[in-house]
């Protein structure tokens, strides 16, 4: 391909209002197939898919770590893992699951769905979006590379000081933790800014805030939580990093440092974080339940308002993780009370979902079953949460398996179940074929049973006094039975995961052998993403829809009779967009996001091992930023012939003409390097 664009004289024109050539080091990548098309993509859908694949891979890692934990704890006094290794394994399990699995999985869905649900062609900053993803991926790989470079972090996922100082954790694990979380933090901050602006600025005409799908709403709130919760942990991580790498004294009690500062800063992030991990799940349930109940969501305004309330209240309860830390009775009282009342908006949601399915006609698809499971399972987790909220009671519960049970019920039973439901629900939209329902139900039941067998007994273990984070226990303590049950449960979950993988594979093969397009709207659904073909065409919408009301797409399909029952007025296939618009001008792929983000882990390695790596990293970073700055966000019209009017059926003559004038070589550019 050409490195130099044919017409270099154009570049020299000092007064050119807008040069027509992209001006990177390399010409822009243009591959539309193969791995390069993924590596340099800025398409929110591809980025969403990459987020999904990456986080599910990390799930396999985090899950395998969980299996190690469970195997070690299956019987008393096991020696499968040494104490040192066990500590690394549970720390990395927590870190992986939270930062590299659940958060990015929601980022995956948010990326893929938000532009579709609000009728946009992409997110507000496509390249920044790619940058977010690569930061996340490289941060995750960086974190996990610690296994090969001296061992993982061993401070627990909340990594309390001063146990995380060099004296008490002399390996490099904690450095990987601080730097790795800083890198993934960049990913989340950038992603948050991007999605907030996408929602605020790129909604289709008529899509007012109160007509946005609940998932969009919850994700929108979530991004604000991220935006404001990440700085405190950034500060904490910086302080710890300076302590460890440069000999600062922030958490050195001998010189007046206060270990509680870490706890406050961490939980100031950590608590909003747990709602960050559940609000989008609430959104997804609110999408899936109505579709399969064939009823609208009950009390949309309440659903939105309670989400906002949870968001706000979520910032006021962080110190409930510190009831035993001795912060003083006044603080304990204040945070105990604020925590109790967060049950109110969450309760509204639970009851509204129950009201949604009340009187509905529940179609028990796999997606629906996973979504329905959230109601009972999350409630169990929420109720144990409320029992923690009572500070005196919590002093008996904190740091026992009762807490472990609580957060797995909310995280796995709440968030992860719905994420799995989300896979079944949106799979046809994303990949253009359905997942097998029968296997899906197997998957559900195995997960459901395995999950309850694993984490249900932990309630009892906790109340019987089993501490968390202990690498083994003794025979006389009475923990044998339930631990064994929990281990069996964990293996059942593992089997269920394999069933899911098999399902993906089998369904894919079946689709390959005998392609059946599920059509734009396989579930008779309600929101905008179902009004376009499956899989989503590259340009999303042929034309940008005009929104009249909540669940606009549904109301185009159905009117209602005098009792208020839906009456079909149009077929989805007829009113759906055809996806055949040509020449839609899309943001162009770019090398720079991946280059810039690749610099970060090198800088981090440099800080840990040898500053030489940091120099290499900063060259990548600085060079990448420069390349990014001088590269226009979209290749000029000549490279991607486009049609700004958006109506594919009225080809824009001038654009085509412009394209025709270009030399053939120019249009068939392939990327270099």
């Amino acid at each position: 391909m050409a490195v130099i664009e044919a017409d270099t004289t154009q570049l020299a024109l000092p007064t050119a209002p807008k040069p027509t050539k992209p001006l990177g080091i390399f010409a822009r990548p243009v591959a539309t197939k193969g791995w390069k098309s993924w590596l340099f993509s800025v398409d929110h859908k591809r980025i969403g898919i990459m987020y999904g694949v990456a986080s599910m891979s990390f799930f396999a890692i985090g899950g395998s770590e969980a299996l190690l934990i469970r195997t070690q704890l299956a019987r008393p006094g096991q020696k499968l893992l040494s104490a040192a290794l066990y500590n690394q394994v549970f720390t990395m399990h927590g870190v992986t699951m939270i930062f590299l699995v659940v958060m990015p999985l929601f980022a995956a869905f948010a990326n893929y769905l938000i532009p579709l649900q609000i009728g946009a062609r992409d997110v507000a900053f496509p390249r920044l979006n790619a940058f977010s993803f690569w930061c996340y991926l490289f941060g995750g790989l960086f974190l996990n590379s610690s296994w090969f470079l001296g061992g993982g972090a061993d401070g627990g996922w909340f990594n309390y000081a001063p146990n995380s100082s060099v004296t008490f954790s002399p390996g490099h694990g904690i450095d990987f933790y601080t730097l790795g979380l800083l890198i993934t933090g960049i990913a989340s901050t950038v992603g948050a800014v991007n999605l907030i602006i996408t929602v605020m600025n790129l909604r289709a005409p008529g899509m007012t805030y109160m007509r946005m799908p609940v998932f969009t709403w919850m994700t929108f709130i979530n991004q604000f939580l991220l935006l404001f919760a990440l700085p405190p942990i950034t500060v904490a991580l910086f302080l710890l990093m300076f302590d460890r790498l440069f000999g600062a004294n922030f958490f050195n009690a001998a010189l007046g440092g206060d270990p509680l500062l870490w706890q406050h800063l961490f939980w100031l992030f950590g608590h909003p974080e747990v709602y960050i991990m559940v609000l989008p799940a609430f959104g997804m349930v609110s999408e899936i339940l109505p579709v399969f109940s064939r009823k609208p969501i009950f009390g949309y305004p309440f659903m939105v308002a309670s989400g906002v309330a949870i968001g706000f209240m979520g910032f006021g309860v962080w110190a409930h993780h510190m009831f035993a830390s001795g912060m003083g009775p006044v603080s304990v009282t204040a945070f105990s009370l604020s925590t109790m009342f967060i049950a109110v908006p969450t309760g509204v949601k639970i009851l509204n979902w129950m009201a949604t399915i009340y009187g509905g006609r529940l179609k028990m698809t796999a997606a629906m079953m996973f979504a329905l499971a959230l109601i009972p399972l999350f409630t169990i987790g929420g109720l144990s949460g409320v029992t923690h909220a009572f500070a005196p009671a919590d002093t008996q519960q904190t740091d026992t398996y009762y807490i472990v049970a609580h957060f797995h019920y909310v995280l796995f039973g709440g968030s992860f179940f719905v994420l799995l439901g989300g896979f079944y629900f949106w799979w046809p939209k994303i990949f253009g074929f359905m997942l097998d329902e029968k296997l899906g139900k197997w998957h559900f039941w195995l997960t459901f049973i395995g999950f309850n067998l694993t984490f249900g007994p932990m309630h009892m273990l906790g109340l019987q006094g089993m501490s968390r984070r202990i690498f083994t226990y003794s025979e006389g303590q009475g923990f044998d039975l339930w631990n064994f049950v929990a281990t069996i449960g964990a293996y059942i979950i593992a089997i269920s995961v394999i069933v899911f993988l098999v399902n993906c594979w089998v369904s894919y093969r079946r689709h390959k052998a005998n392609p059946v397009n599920p059509g734009p709207d396989p579930w008779d659904a309600r929101t905008l993403e179902w009004s376009i073909p499956s899989p989503t065409p590259e340009h999303n919408f042929d034309y940008v829809p005009q929104i009249e009301e909540l669940d606009d797409f549904w109301h185009r399909k159905y009117g209602h009779d005098e009792q208020g029952r839906p009456v079909k007025i149009a077929d989805a296939a007829d009113i759906a967009q055809k996806g055949d618009a040509k020449n839609v001008h899309l943001p162009s792929p770019s090398y720079w996001p991946i280059v810039v983000s690749a610099g970060l882990p090198f800088i981090a390695y440099g800080l840990i091992f040898n500053l030489g790596w940091a120099i290499l990293g900063s060259i990548l970073l600085a060079g990448g930023v420069w390349g990014w700055v001088i590269e226009p966000s979209t290749a000029p019209a000549s490279e991607h012939p486009h049609d700004d009017s958006g109506h594919g059926d009225e080809p824009d003559g001038s654009a085509d003409a412009a394209a025709a004038e270009l030399p053939a070589a120019e249009r068939e550019e392939a990327p270099v390097g």
């Binding site: 490195v3 270099t8 080091i25 390399f26 004296t167 000999g247 001998a254 010189l255 270099v672 390097g673």
Partner: protein
């Protein structure tokens, strides 16, 4: 696409890498009772990992030789990437680019080149630095390294095609992303350094006045110029250049003079409680 030229470079890089690893293991083994012993004992993983992880973990024997070989490997690898990225000396690609059937004749340019001169300066700095100051020596070395890279790239770019302008664009595409940010940082660093040296050289109160004067100067000049947009350009440029020279000169003078004496608060020794010695055994 991997071009012929780059294959050569990649080959060299691979060979040098293997050589470096072998060298690292062997020299390491020499220190620890033989390679076989090394590999069979507990340190086997370290002995292998060491060279592969660039000496981070585990042993590398002789570091100098290892670093030279690794450096060579890295350098040739970079050249290989560049060569394949730009399809250097791939006549076909150039032809395709030109849209013509014929291959392009590459004409060497006869442009003036400042690099040799700078290289000379750097060499002088190294020599003087060896004798006089390690800082100068370091400056010399790094300038020489920069010259090496710049000169190579410049030469390479000149051979790209017959079109000098295009060649320049080529060079810029590759080098500007590195030059500009680092140049900018260097510039700011230099200015900031100069300012701070001046503040440090004068007295405590003097520093206040100098800072005030500097700021007033910038602010004032800006206001004056703003109110007189018709001032001749050359004048402005002249003033700017002069200002830069002055800042640099004063800064260097300040650095050479060295900081003022820092008065020591309370010269009497305070009793330091023993318990407050740092409890943290520091290690990197």
């Amino acid at each position: 696409m991997i071009t012929t030229g780059s294959k050569y470079f990649f080959g060299l890089a691979g060979a040098a890498f293997i050589a470096a690893v072998v060298y690292g293991i062997v020299t390491n083994g020499v220190e620890h009772g033989g390679v076989v012993h090394l590999l069979s004992s507990d340190g086997a993983v370290n002995a292998l990992l060491g060279p592969i992880t660039f000496g981070y973990k585990g042993g590398v024997g002789d570091h100098v030789g290892y670093a030279i070989l690794m450096g060579f490997a890295g350098g040739t690898f970079g050249l290989g990437v560049a060569a394949s990225a730009f399809r250097d000396s791939d006549a076909e690609a150039l032809a395709q680019l030109d849209g013509s059937e014929a291959t392009v004749v590459v004409t060497p340019s006869v442009m003036l080149n400042a690099w040799p001169f700078i290289a000379g300066l750097a060499a002088t700095a190294i020599v003087i630095g060896l004798a006089a100051s390690p800082i100068l020596f370091l400056i010399g070395c790094s300038s020489l390294a920069i010259v090496g890279v710049e000169w190579t790239i410049a030469n390479w770019a000149e051979q790209r095609s017959a079109d000098a302008a295009a060649n320049r664009v080529m060079r810029n595409r590759l080098m500007l992303p590195v030059e500009v940010p680092f140049g900018g940082l260097f510039l700011i660093g230099a200015i900031v350094y100069c300012f701070s040296r001046v503040f440090l050289a004068v007295s405590k109160l003097g520093a206040v006045w100098v800072a005030l004067a500097l700021a007033a100067l910038f602010f004032g000049v800006a206001i004056i110029l703003n109110s007189r947009p018709q001032i001749r350009r050359s004048l402005v440029v002249g003033v700017l250049v002069l200002g830069a020279v002055v800042v640099l000169a004063v800064g260097v003078a300040g650095a050479v003079t060295g900081p003022r004496d820092f008065e020591h608060h309370g010269a009497q020794e305070g009793a330091v409680p023993a318990v407050l010695t740092p409890a943290v055994g520091q290690e990197g």
